[in-house]
Amino acid sequence: MDYSTLAAQLFLTGIFLSSLYILVTFGLTMIFGVMEIVNFAHAAFAVLGGYACLMAVTSLAIDPFLALLPVVVFMSLVGWLTFDFFARYTLDLGDSHVVIYYALLLIISNILALIYGLDYKFIPSTLGYTQLQLGAVKYPLIKALVALLSLASVAGLSLYLKFSVTGKRIRAVSQSKESAEIMGIDSLKIRRITWVIGIASAGLMGALVGLVNPFSPYAGTTYLIVAFSVAILGGMGSLFGTIVAGFIVGMAESLFSLILPSQISPVIAFVLIIVVLMIKPEGLFSRA
């Protein structure tokens, strides 16, 4: 295999990984920006989305890509309920909220484990192992589609945040809750919407991942760490930072997979977190 093909493969893998990481971190960083909550349970919602997609595919017998729509609707509902019955009350807890959200992660993971068991599940797809031919490089079609959908979702969300009225309100509350309230913005409503978007996007990411990788109820913890490293590197609360950091982390992981055995790869994300937090805790871009 010549180097240009190898480079192309690494690049594509990097894009693929980056797209997923950006999608999952988007919600995490949005929630932090608007509500100052570090949602440790974020990854659990992603896994939940994966199982939701599996259920949709098996019980409704539709193509998984079509199933994504009901999954997003379902996860939005989940987000709505969890906000009104749970998240809303944690807004005033201060630093100790991290513990409570970790408890939530455990609860969701273990409920899933009770229902579905611990073995790895896969979302079957009719696309199977079809490969795309891009010049001299072959790449699995399904991975390309997943990456495209992730990036499209992120683009869509970014546009929404930039141009829609609610999007602007969300950004306003993220910058300063008090000022936004003075301007007449209902911050509770905005927080609710932010939470719902965050959870729904996490679920979407989980479903997309499920199409490509087998997952189990506890798979969330791996994504959690990566999501945190992307969020911290990019700057918690900064959406642009998330996108940049997502690409950095995705590409880095793809590159490092050449040199390091796969068991060690999570260590990169961890070390990255530590280094960033020690040198520049606000990350690359502070809250926007």
Binding site: D92, G94, S96, V99, Y102, T221, I232, F270, L277
Partner: protein, 328 residues
């Protein structure tokens, strides 16, 4: 003061009774006493682990998600010293000191971050250790490490060891709560900047507390190793132990010397009864209990006995903004 006095007496009665039962248990040969002994042994191990977390998390509000690091290091260090031929108590002590020493450079890393970032950094360190130990068979043995038989082998020996260690940890927590060091910690927990301004050496206090915390956590891990006599990195460095420490402390009574003991008892009972039925079901129940406690009884179950103010200091969950933080 009247109410305080009677509450104190109540507490002393409860503790005394429990202590008596705990001490004499192995001597009574009831059919289920062996089972009760192992439940209590685990409870004592969790107590020590919880206390070690509680020092930082309960008073200084530094919520660590990485205490499994100390637990695992302590376990492996103890096994290492035992395998060199040193007697078990010596191994345990050495392991505690060694891990405490290791905590000093780790503290430099961790304490450069605050709040949720501190939590994330501690998690990162614990996970790095786990993966490194898993990856490197020189550290962890190709199939785990066996701890040789020692004077603590056998149910009764390990039971008394953990009982003594747990009691010691409660003693340390109690003593610390009344010392200047403890007051400094609580001040840091209340408001770090203000503490620095009035002259508290924040970094030093945190580091020295981490030293003690690491040593305690290591002893807990070492005791665990002496109990199970088999160690694997995925077990002892598992994030579950970090969680256990947190559960036990918050559910029992955050910031209270007896908190982890109460929490550990509940934890151990739930684990032993639920786990064989449905794996990890106890984590589900405990997660729910944790959330319930944080909303309903923020200072933990001990408040049922001591009243909603802990002795000496209200070390509960601080409510930002709307509510006033209770003063001692």
């Amino acid at each position: 003061m009247q109410a305080d006095e009677s509450k104190r007496k109540q507490l002393i009665w409860v503790v005394g009774l429990f202590g008596l039962v705990a001490l004499t248990l192995p001597m009574v040969d009831l059919p289920f006493s062996s089972y009760v002994m192992s439940v209590l042994t685990f409870a004592f191990i969790y107590t020590v682990l919880g206390q070690s977390w509680n020092l930082l998390g309960g008073w200084a509000k530094q919520f660590s998600l990485g205490h499994a690091a100390f637990f695992g290091l302590g376990a492996f260090a103890t096994a290492f010293f035992c395998n060199l031929g040193l007697p078990a108590p010596v191994s345990l002590g050495l392991a505690g000191l060694m891990v405490a020493a290791i905590s000093l450079p780790l503290g430099l890393i961790c304490f450069s971050a605050r709040g949720p970032y501190f939590t994330i950094i501690t998690l990162a360190i614990a996970e790095i250790l786990r993966i490194v130990f898993l990856w490197r068979p020189e550290l962890s043995g190709s199939e785990g490490i066996i701890v040789p038989n020692n004077i603590f082998s056998g149910k009764v020996g390990i039971y008394y060891l953990t009982l003594v260690v747990a009691a010691a940890s409660v003693g340390v927590a109690y003593w610390l709560a009344r010392s200047n060091h403890g007051l400094a910690l609580m001040a840091i927990g209340d408001d770090e900047e203000a503490s620095a301004e009035i002259g508290i050496k924040v970094r030093n206090t945190k580091s020295s507390t981490l030293f003690i915390s690491a040593g305690m956590g290591a002893v807990a891990g070492g005791a665990y190793g002496l109990f199970t006599q088999y160690l694997s990195p995925n077990d002892v460095f598992s994030i579950n132990y970090s969680l256990d420490a947190i559960f036990v402390s918050i559910i029992g009574g955050i910031g209270h010397p007896f908190g982890p003991l109460v929490g550990a008892l509940l934890f151990s009972i739930l684990e032993e009864t639920l786990n064989p039925l449905v794996p990890n079901a106890h984590l589900l129940v405990l997660g729910a209990i944790l959330i319930a406690i944080m909303f309903l009884l923020p200072k933990g179950l001990v408040t049922l006995v001591t009243g909603s103010e802990h002795q000496g200091h209200v070390a509960g969950i601080k409510i930002k903004r709307r509510q006033v933080v209770n003063a001692p």
